[in-house]
Symmetry: C2
Subunit: 131 residues, 2 copies
């Protein structure tokens, strides 16, 4: 249940995304209690809705230039989050991914991605690990 293992699971998610590999994507997600929020979308609940969304998204092929940047993992017992940047071309997004550990591996239970605005309204500009 190491940080390295959950970061590897997170990278497998982006690898499946890049390759448009629906089978690999399906294999990553837990069997139930899964949720997903794509950028601008409403919440998807349950395996059927979540996988239908990936089928629609990956149906036109993968996002070859999708890159996961500066993943930050936080592991507490058998649950973990990975927060990371996502870049596709010039678009910058940010994601919260959660994983649960059982049956000897980490399984994805939640993905929440949203766009990062170019200009952030903050007096003291943040210097997160995305830069």
């Amino acid at each position: 249940m190491s940080v390295e293992a959950v970061l590897a699971a997170n990278e497998s998610f982006y690898e499946a995304f890049r390759r448009g590999d629906l089978e690999a994507m399906d294999e990553l997600w837990a069997s139930d209690d899964v949720t997903c929020i794509h950028p601008g979308w409403d919440l998807l609940v349950g395996r059927q809705q979540v996988m239908a969304s990936w089928s629609a998204i990956l149906g036109n092929g993968g996002a070859e230039d999708m890159r996961c940047t500066n993943p930050l993992a936080s592991v507490h017992g058998n649950m973990a989050t990975v927060i990371c940047g996502e870049r596709i071309g010039e678009a910058q997004m940010i994601a919260t991914n959660t994983f649960v550990f059982y049956a000897d591996r980490w399984w994805m239970t939640h993905h929440h991605a949203g766009q990062v605005a170019q200009s952030v309204q903050f007096e003291s500009p943040p210097h997160g690990p995305l830069n």
Copy 2:
């Protein structure tokens, strides 16, 4: 470490947001390893950045009409997520909040909120618990 307790902690977060109560907000967050993603913002890392953002956001008063809708909690050992809708007036957002249990209570460790677009590009419209 019940679902009810983590939902209560989540509601306390929105209550502090509504009231513009920076002290209550500060009391909710864990002592370290905290992160926050406000809608459209880049990642904020660490207590200093996160609380500075809340000071800026709540400095002009609370968001009196902020409502948390249909919270969905998932508890695994000493870590939990709550996914919920957020409404301020006509604006609809969606949030992933994470909590860690120690010292007899749940502490907030991450908040990720983003806007939901009015029109979702999905062949079969999702029917999440936000409706």
